[in-house]
């Protein structure tokens, strides 16, 4: 059989293939990625798109959780101050209901209770980063104002709206309790209780004072009970944070498994491609240096 007398094109093609391998390996090494364009691994590239979207979504959930946590903690500590103030009001009421105090003492106690009332209004008008957290969804304006005309001594300009924010796939948390539920709940109206205390202290109605003390006590335990909402939500957010952090780590591992370059393999491939290129070059240098013409004289 006659053989191809000119193997040069074959050797050149082999050199080209070698160069292609070296280029691919070098690109993988430089980028640290096995998938640099979709055609490197179409299914993998599609998975990477989903993976990147999931990672970015989880990062956003973590950021949202961070800001919700700060807001809830601020609200919760304001409620803590509210119960402290209510405790002081109870002390004032108990003192005022005693038969040993006189009318002018009661007026002084009433004055202090009025101070408490305005401090309570201040706390109920708590604003976090410009939004009034106890105003329902009417967060643009302070919800409470002192008003002598109102039976409870205050007016509520907020609404009963609540917001929920998505912080995970199919998982959202309620992020606020409106003042209408917290402070102006018809069955446990904090401001009504304090107003009753003030009125009775001023009028010196001992029996009335005792009833008012009862109302304030009940309001105080109601606020305490409402703080469970904040504790629970903060716990849920903490758990979700832990979950998202581990999910993010897992996604990063997955991303590396799908798209990361297997460095030892790439380096080995690169070396073998280089060796093979060297061998081809040697072969090229050897071929066709001589032919029969060199020997026939």
């Amino acid at each position: 059989m006659r053989v191809n007398p000119n193997p040069l094109p074959d050797l050149l093609a082999a050199l080209g293939n070698n160069q292609q391998l070296i280029n691919t390996d070098t690109q993988e090494l430089a980028s640290g990625l096995r998938i640099n364009v979709p055609s490197d691994n179409p299914a993998g590239a599609a998975e990477l798109v989903q993976n990147a979207a999931q990672t970015s979504t989880d990062d956003q959930f973590l950021r949202s959780i961070g800001s919700i946590q700060a807001e809830l903690q601020t609200s919760d500590s304001a409620l803590n101050s509210v119960t402290t103030l209510l405790q002081r009001a109870i002390t004032l009421g108990t003192e005022g209901s005693s038969s040993t105090v006189n009318a002018s003492d009661r007026l002084a106690l009433a004055a202090e209770a009025q101070g408490i009332q305005s401090q309570l209004v201040g706390l109920a008008n708590l604003s976090y980063q410009g939004k009034y957290v106890f105003a329902g969804t009417a967060t643009e304006a302070p919800p409470y104002a002192l008003s002598a005309a109102s039976p409870s001594g205050v007016t509520y300009a907020g609404n009963s709206g609540v917001n929920s924010v998505t912080v995970g796939e199919g998982f959202s948390v309620q992020t606020n309790l409106p003042g209408s539920e917290l402070f102006s709940n018809p069955s446990n109206d904090v401001f009504q209780a304090v107003e009753d205390l003030i009125t009775n202290l001023q009028s010196g109605d001992v029996a009335g004072i005792s009833v008012a003390v009862g109302e304030v006590t009940s309001a105080s335990s109601y606020i305490d009970a409402q703080r469970v909402f904040y504790g629970n939500t903060l716990n849920q957010l903490g758990a979700q944070q832990t979950f998202l952090n581990s999910a993010t780590t897992q996604l990063a591992q997955q991303e590396n498994t799908i798209g990361g370059a297997d460095l030892p393999a790439v380096i080995t491939n690169l070396e073998s491609a280089q060796v093979s290129r060297q061998a081809t070059l040697e072969a090229l240098a050897q071929t066709q240096q001589t032919n029969l013409f060199n020997y026939i004289k």
Binding site: V37, P42, Q60, E140, N163, S164, I296
Partner: protein, 468 residues
């Protein structure tokens, strides 16, 4: 009766035959590196013998012809594989360029979609905050830009493919013209009784080039040949060539005509086939998927956007404000109903961040509508898939198409290389062989010359006999 003169004639025939054979060898050596050259072999035949008085006497040798060695079946296999190679090559280069638009980066469409929905989640946690609202508008703008850039790149590519189609048709016409000319020359040389080997070599070379451009079928006949495209449209018939022409249709897309007939859809192979496949199928397919995604997303976002309230408590879906008619407040300018052009034309409709409808009850602090906007992220709003899923489908499509075309290209390159090897084995010039032939013919020539010299001596002897 034999004669010395007859012997002299035989020796002379040897001399001239060897000289001719030597010429073939010399031509082979000279053309060792000529592309498409097929080695020539001298065809030596014994002359018809004389039968005289019952004796059969040889009358020497003659050089009947110089034949070019080639294998027609191999040639046609090479032409076919060259067509596949041309088609895959054109497709690979078009798709490799297209897939860059879908390669993950900090500004690709997938990232922009995620960032857009992330900004809405941020808004949901703080619905009345102006800087957060501005963040949504910025992310929406980036999303629109990502769609615009990818779509415009594809459009540019589409029109450069369109220009390539016209250029390729020009090249085809030049080649068919040259082949027709060669056909005429070959016919006239062959009818003069001469071998047309080198002209045939040139023609083979041109047909190879033509094969890389378009799918051709070669129908050989005595000394000439007919070339047609795969569906039978004549390109060359003997000494006549038929030029293809291009004409833009109403959308500016170049259509290919042969003798007044539109043959665009029948061309499937060669570079032209690859270009048409990329121009008419792959790139428009990607453009259409981008448009579907852009339109689906924009429409879904607008629907939710117009069911809420802006920062000032105005309903964004209302068609009248304070008794005055107004248009609904969209987030994205509504895409065309036909979907075509949605990606290249996607833009944000509002500049005032306060107009984003985050509120579901009219109060500034409500985030109900922002949550509804965010929920679109996971809903099957584009052909039953979520935006990210649909986009990842596009990535996988373009990746698969490119990977397939490039696998086809490598496979066809390997086959072509092997076929070329085989062709070289049949037709290639081996210098070793030529050196051996050179020696062989040289020695035969020297021997014939020696015979002549001997006959001359014998003649002298005969002449001397008479004179003595």
């Amino acid at each position: 009766m034999s004669s010395l003169n007859a012997s002299l004639a035989i020796a002379l025939s040897g001399l001239s035959a060897d000289q001719g054979a030597l010429e073939a060898t010399t031509n082979n050596v000279a053309n060792v590196n000529t592309p498409g050259y097929a080695r020539e072999v001298p065809v030596l035949v014994t002359n018809a013998p004389d039968v005289i008085d019952g004796l059969t006497l040889g009358t020497g040798v003659s050089l009947q012809s110089i034949e070019s060695i080639r294998d027609p079946i191999l040639e046609s296999q090479i032409q076919q594989e060259t067509q596949t190679q041309g088609q895959a090559g054109a497709l690979v280069s078009a798709l490799s360029e297209a897939q860059v638009n879908f390669t993950s980066s900090t500004s690709d469409i997938g990232t922009a979609i995620s960032n857009f929905f992330n900004s809405i989640n941020q808004l949901s946690a703080d619905p009345a905050d102006l800087s957060t609202r501005q963040g949504v508008l910025t992310a929406a703008g980036n999303l629109a830009t990502a769609f615009n850039v990818a779509s415009n790149n594809l459009t540019t590519q589409h029109s450069s493919l369109n220009a390539s189609v016209a250029q390729t048709v020009n090249q085809i016409n030049q080649l068919t013209g040259q082949i027709a000319q060669l056909n005429a020359q070959i016919t006239s040389v062959a009818s003069g009784g001469q071998g047309a080997g080198t002209l045939v070599d040139q023609r083979t070379q041109l047909i190879d080039q033509l094969s890389s451009l378009v799918d051709v079928s070669v129908i050989p006949s005595d000394n000439t040949l007919t070339l047609t495209t795969a569906n039978g449209t004549a390109l060359v018939a003997g000494s006549e060539s038929f030029a293809l022409s291009t004409q833009p249709d109403s959308s500016g897309t170049q259509q290919i005509y042969a003798q007044g007939l539109n043959i665009t859809s029948t061309i499937v192979s060669g570079q032209l086939g690859g270009l048409l496949q990329a121009r008419d199928r792959q790139i428009p397919g990607l453009e259409n998927q981008l448009d579907t995604l852009a339109a689906g997303l924009a429409n879904a976002v607008n629907t939710v956007q117009t069911s809420g309230y802006d920062l000032n408590g105005n309903p964004t879906g209302s068609t009248s404000l304070n008794g005055n008619p107004q248009t609904q407040v969209y987030l994205f300018n509504p895409p065309p109903a036909s979907v075509t052009g949605a990606a290249s034309g996607l833009s944000v409709a509002i500049t005032d961040p306060g107009l984003i409808a985050a509120s579901s009850d009219g109060t500034a602090g409500s985030n109900g509508n922002a949550e509804a906007l965010y929920a679109l992220n996971g809903q099957g709003i584009i052909a039953g898939q979520s935006p990210t899923s649909y986009y990842s489908g596009i990535v996988s499509n373009v990746g698969n198409a490119t990977a397939n075309a490039s696998a086809e290209q490598s496979a066809s390159a390997a086959t072509l290389q092997q076929l070329n090897d085989q062709r070289a084995a049949v037709s290639g010039v081996s210098l070793d062989e030529e050196a051996a032939n050179l020696t062989k013919f040289q020695q035969a020539y020297a021997a014939s010359a020696e015979v002549i010299s001997t006959i001359n001596d014998m003649m002298q002897a005969v002449i001397a006999m008479k004179s003595s």
